[in-house]
């Protein structure tokens, strides 16, 4: 399938780019593979990285399918985590719910601006990302800073996701979210309307769909998924907030969604691929001193190849 070809081609190009920096492509590829799936430790790392990617990928998939350009996954991820840590004292479930609500609300800022002021959400969601980053900076340096006041980070959250070895329950939650999204899109009227609006908003209007309301709901779901990603990352992995908490998960979600051709179930495989790439890139940095930015670079290459093959759009 074209998707697999795109992923493989990207890896090849990535390895070849090692030549530009005087390294062996084979060596680079070897480290990437062993660092991501070559040991139990690596596999666990990959799986852990895949969870937030799966959720931000779902977030983008739902939005793009509805025809909304939600590039704000990064910001929704952050506010989701902030809400989660604040609500953690009421338990894990409350914290997760709070993260979803926060993500949805943050996304709704962009939706409102689009509905009331015609402001293009492709820009407003990106601007909200920057605002969220600084909001986080304020939180960890100010009101939410740890008791010692030494580092720009919070205390450990009052609740945490149950763990099984190195993995946390968020893995299950993410897969559940993936199935739930699939069910929503393909087995409910809401999903049918959402997809119709994304394919052809004009025809959707003529078919009696209130396109504006549909977009609001789609963005809400999208934001909630990204917010949940942040909440799970906090409650399952980092347990505390700090600057640079988001580390590009929101933007990577775009690559995840496109490789999966916006299909909620395919997002599982896609997120594992990029999770592996990110984990492998981390190993590259540790052992070979090659910046882990290769992962970001790799994501971009995948997207560009998908564009070239014309295989990133939803095609049921």
């Amino acid at each position: 399938m074209r998707q697999i070809a795109a992923a493989v081609a990207a890896l090849v190009l990535l390895s070849l780019s090692a030549l530009a920096f005087g390294r062996s492509p084979i060596e680079l590829l070897q480290i990437l593979v062993s660092g991501s799936i070559g040991s139990q430790f690596a596999l666990e790392g990959t799986l852990l990285k895949s969870v937030p990617l799966l959720l931000t990928g779902l977030s983008v998939a739902v939005a793009f399918r509805a025809g909304v350009w939600n590039i704000g996954g990064e910001g929704q991820f952050i506010v989701g985590a902030i809400a989660a840590i604040m609500a953690a004292r009421f338990g894990v479930i409350a914290a997760l719910a709070a993260s979803m609500l926060a993500g949805a609300l943050w996304a709704s800022i962009a939706t409102s601006m689009r509905l009331w002021r015609n402001a293009p959400e492709v820009l407003t969601t990106i601007l909200l990302n920057f605002i969220a980053i600084h909001l986080l900076g304020w939180c960890v340096n100010g009101p939410l800073q740890e008791r010692g006041g030494q580092y720009p980070q919070t205390d450990a959250a009052a609740a945490a996701l149950p763990q099984v070895g190195e993995l946390h329950a968020g893995v299950l939650l993410a897969i559940l979210a993936s199935v739930a999204t699939w069910f929503l899109l393909y087995r409910t009227m809401e999903g049918l309307r959402l997809r119709a609006t994304g394919f052809n908003a004009r025809a959707a209007k003529w078919a009696g769909i209130d396109v504006d309301r549909q977009l609001v709901r789609a963005m809400g779901i999208s934001g909630a998924l990204a917010g949940l990603a942040g909440g799970i990352e906090l409650l399952g992995v980092t347990h505390r907030l700090f600057e640079r908490f988001a580390a590009g998960y929101g933007y990577s979600g775009i690559a995840v969604a496109l490789l999966a051709q916006l299909h909620p179930l395919a997002t599982i495989a896609s997120s594992i691929f990029f999770g592996a790439l990110t984990t492998g890139a981390g190993e590259l940095q540790r052992t070979a001193g090659i910046s882990s930015n290769v992962a970001t670079f790799g994501e971009a290459v995948v997207i560009l190849i998908l564009i070239l093959f014309g295989s990133w759009r939803a095609r049921d």
Binding site: M189, A196, F199, R202, A203, W206, G208, A314, R315, D316
Partner: protein, 404 residues
């Protein structure tokens, strides 16, 4: 002037033009006639060089001018600026633009004043003149016009015919693509009929009946008994019909809605027939496919791969099966062949007889008179008084042109 030899063109599995040989001579007005999908536009686009042919050869005796059905104009620019787009690449200033534009227009012999007006402020007839001027300014040896009268009033059509006759008398060849039989019989000196991608008739004189039956396989069905509750709004395209339809939709969201552009606004091409239907009706797809005789492999087939007629049937099925009390039908038979048109009319009549009140917006006068019991004319966004068909018949030409 222009010789096409054994031209064939395929789009995927569809053979749009099938081994056509045609010689077009200078000084003649040739009408290229046929139903939608017969291959007329495709053949002429190949002739003008816009489209590449798969087989055959072409000999051209000079420049070819093409007046397209859909305007290639920049609405935000003025007439003069649009004409300036035609010339060669240069950095020259725009000061002399309007003088140059007036010169170009004068040389074509067509009347179009006010070259500093913006295209979006022009009437549809004037836009059509501008397209014509663009094509003639090149002094073509062959002038091809694709359905030029579809947006003109009867008076404007006569003006166009005068220009066509003049150009032919100067030695150029004029090809007039149309599916409007009365006009063809009025202006053409030679008639070529296409059907299914082939030339089936090439003659200098025909009667109307001969022409009609050459165009189709099935006999022509016309019914002339108007039913109750059908109100028709007629007018030349571009006089506010779209806005009227959208207002209706906003006021009656539960009505049955048949939009005028079925591929863009009607069906969702990427979704299956079943999904398109499910958007508005709870009746299952298989039943509707059978009931409305939709030609498809199965309900899972993507709606975009259906023919125009079948797409319209999907829309009808979706909207009419809900038995709505009000129905909006905008250009419901545009681009459909005779069989499909008859089917649509039948469905609309059936709905009306069951008590629905129908608003029919159409630029096809025959359709309006066949179906409606009350007719209004729309011109520049304003509606005339409703008239019974008998009265309308006399006045409609004048009303459509903005007189009376």
């Amino acid at each position: 002037m222009l010789t096409l030899h054994a031209i064939t063109k395929r789009f995927g599995d569809n053979v749009a033009v099938d081994d056509v040989t045609l010689e077009i001579r200078g000084g003649e007005i040739l009408a290229l006639v046929g139903e939608n999908g017969a291959g007329k536009t495709t053949l002429m686009r190949i002739a003008s060089g816009e489209l590449a042919h798969d087989a055959g050869s072409i000999e051209r005796g000079g420049a070819i001018g093409f007046v397209h059905q859909h305007f290639l104009l920049v609405s935000d620019f003025t007439i003069a600026e649009n004409l300036a787009l035609q010339r060669t690449w240069s950095f020259a200033s725009l000061r002399k633009l309007e003088d140059q534009a007036e010169q170009i227009i004068a040389a074509t012999g067509i009347e179009l004043r006010g070259v500093s007006r913006r295209v979006e402020d022009l009437s549809v007839g004037e836009k059509s003149k501008l397209e014509l001027i663009k094509a003639i300014a090149k002094k073509p040896r062959v002038l091809i016009l694709d359905e030029p009268t579809s947006v003109l009033t009867p008076a404007e059509s006569q003006e166009l015919f005068a220009v066509m006759r003049r150009i032919a008398s100067e030695g150029a060849a004029v090809v007039f693509i149309s599916h409007k039989l009365p006009e063809v019989l009025e202006i053409a000196q030679r008639i070529v009929v296409m059907r299914g991608g082939r030339v089936v008739v090439d003659t200098k004189s025909m009667t109307a009946e001969e022409l009609a039956s050459a165009m189709v396989d099935a006999p022509v069905i016309t019914s002339t008994t108007p039913m109750n509750n059908i109100r028709a709004i007629v007018g030349v395209a571009g006089n506010g019909q779209t806005e009227l339809a959208e207002r209706f939709r906003a006021e009656h969201p539960d009505a049955g809605l048949i939009p005028e552009d079925r591929t863009r606004d009607g069906i969702i091409a990427e979704m299956s027939i079943a999904e398109n239907l499910a958007l508005r009706t709870k009746i299952d797809a298989e039943t509707l496919i059978g009931h409305y005789s939709i030609k498809a492999r199965n309900a899972k087939q993507k709606a975009g791969s259906l023919s125009g007629g079948n797409q319209q049937k999907v829309i009808l099925a979706r909207e009419l099966s809900r038995k709505p009390r009000m129905i909006l039908a905008a250009e419901p038979t545009r681009g459909l062949d005779i069989e499909a048109t008859a089917f649509v009319h039948e469905q609309l009549r059936a709905a009306a007889s069951e008590g629905a009140s129908i608003l029919l917006i159409t630029s096809d006068l025959d359709e309006a008179f066949a179906l409606a019991d009350s007719i209004q004319v729309i011109y520049r966004g304003a509606l005339s008084e409703p008239m019974p068909p008998a009265v309308a018949r006399e006045k409609v030409g004048a009303l459509m042109a903005g007189l009376a």
